[in-house]
């Protein structure tokens, strides 16, 4: 069963019933035809509810709430009853079905397929160290831990950037940071930090924002690439600190596409 399609069909029918109930000039819904339509629509709801219950994508309490509202609506339809009562129940069913069942189902089914999508994006990567971070990140995404997935995927980016910068040698790296500090170009003049590394692990202490700026300074990235990588770092920081932001699977996919293209599969970082 295409659950999303079935829920859309239900909502379409419910919207039509709502309209017809509102159009009634009587205070109660007494016509057999409209009451029969309510019962027929309820019959279409039952198999959908069964699939949703088995799928465990949506919250069980919300599902139960909608099922209870349906039961009450069908009970109303057994006899002529005030249309006010219909309106309240219909409004409740439509709103909860849309926001808590259908939208959650769509996001949840995106989570179920996100692993395949992300694995396809990172499939050309051969570095075992990177793949360890990425696989863990993808497993987080598959468990609907999108923020954790973002943070872990950034570990792979940071790993690759550190590796590339380490390959320059400590002396060159110190010199390049000093040159960047002295550069009065639009992009670099705000950079005022003194970095003096003495050992390779010191690089890990540098802020990622400064390391990617150095990558721009060293022309591993052009302006646009830098801008996109900075956005990816901002997303990582938003996910790695206590904020109310909760990226969805679509955002995660775009993030993965960016980091693979800009760093993980960028020949300038190999």
């Amino acid at each position: 069963m295409d659950v999303a399609q079935a829920l859309e069909d239900l909502l379409e029918e419910l919207a039509s019933i709502q309209k017809d109930v509102s159009k009634l000039k009587t205070a109660s819904v007494s016509g057999q035809a409209l009451r029969k339509r309510v019962k027929e629509t309820h019959k279409n709801w039952l198999p959908v509810a069964g699939v949703l219950e088995a799928g465990r994508i949506v919250d069980a309490a919300h599902l139960q709430g909608v099922s209870d509202a349906w039961a009450a609506l069908v009970k109303l339809a057994n006899n002529p009853n005030p249309k006010k009562q219909y309106k309240v129940l219909l409004k409740n069913i439509v709103a909860t079905t849309e926001s808590e069942l259908l939208h959650k189902f769509i996001k949840g089914s995106a989570i179920q397929t996100i692993g395949d999508t992300l694995r396809k994006l990172v499939q050309p990567i051969g570095d075992a160290d990177l793949l360890r971070y990425l696989e863990e990140s993808i497993r987080c995404a598959e468990m609907n831990c999108v923020r954790a997935s973002v943070v872990l995927a950034w570990c792979a980016v940071a790993h690759m950037i550190h590796k590339k910068l380490r390959s320059l040698g400590i002396a060159t790296l110190n010199a390049q940071f000093a040159s960047m500090k002295a550069d009065q170009g639009l992009m670099f003049r705000a950079f005022k930090k003194d970095y003096v590394f003495t050992t390779e692990p010191d690089i890990q202490e540098a802020a990622d924002a400064h390391l990617i700026l150095l990558c721009r300074f060293l022309t591993y990235l052009d302006d646009t690439q830098y801008k996109h990588l900075k956005n990816a770092l901002d997303l990582r920081n938003g996910c790695g600190h206590p904020t109310g932001y909760q990226p969805d699977p679509v955002k995660l996919q775009a993030y993965y596409a960016d980091i693979t293209q800009l760093v993980l599969l960028n020949p300038k970082f190999t």
Partner: protein, 189 residues
């Protein structure tokens, strides 16, 4: 090279004049770009970077071959396309932070056009699944669940004939609509 350009210039102008007036500037630019790429010897590169892996059929810096007729027919340059999608190949992502259009229905139709082009950049087929359309529509806040099917039905000229629930594939008007949309997004409209 300058002499050759002088010799070819009248021919180029003649071609440009065949294009509709509003497109002449663009046509001139595209033809000149082609002329230069055909006539200027590439600079020797000491150590060319390795090609990006996993991007078969995608010329470096350009769109995949199956998309090129669509780009030409709609006068869309790579530079225009890059303002809407990145990269122009597998893993292509829609860059827009919001989908243009008046109301959810219009936005959702526009989104479907863009998703079909995105898919074409990946696989060459101008199609998209309803699952992907729903996911992106929720993301872009243009998902009108109770009118989803009705909206697609009332814009059915954009898509090839299909069964209910089947994937969307762009028709001729759909491709044209997608082209116009891409140009308007790139122009910041």
């Amino acid at each position: 090279m300058l002499n050759k350009l002088k010799a070819d210039f009248d021919g180029i102008l003649e071609l440009v004049n065949k294009a509709p007036a509003p497109l002449q500037e663009l046509a001139f630019k595209m033809i000149l770009e082609q002329w230069f790429s055909a006539n200027v010897a590439p600079k020797p590169v000491p150590s060319p970077p390795a090609p990006a892996p996993g991007v078969p059929g995608v010329p470096s810096g350009g769109a995949p071959d199956p998309v090129k007729p669509f780009l030409t027919a709609n006068a869309i340059t790579t530079a225009i396309l890059e303002k809407v999608f990145n990269p122009l190949g597998p893993g292509a992502q829609l860059l827009a932070s919001e989908i243009p259009g008046n109301g959810k229905a219009n936005q959702m139709v526009n989104l479907s056009l863009l998703l079909c082009v995105k898919q074409a950049l990946e696989s060459g087929a101008f199609s998209c699944t309803l699952k992907e359309l729903r996911e992106l529509a929720v993301h872009y806040d243009c998902y009108d669940s109770s009118n989803f099917a009705a909206t697609l039905k009332s814009n059915k000229n954009y898509y090839k004939p299909r069964e209910k629930g089947a994937d969307l594939e762009l028709s001729g008007p759909g491709l044209k609509g997608a082209g116009e949309l891409i140009k308007s997004i790139a122009a910041g409209e």
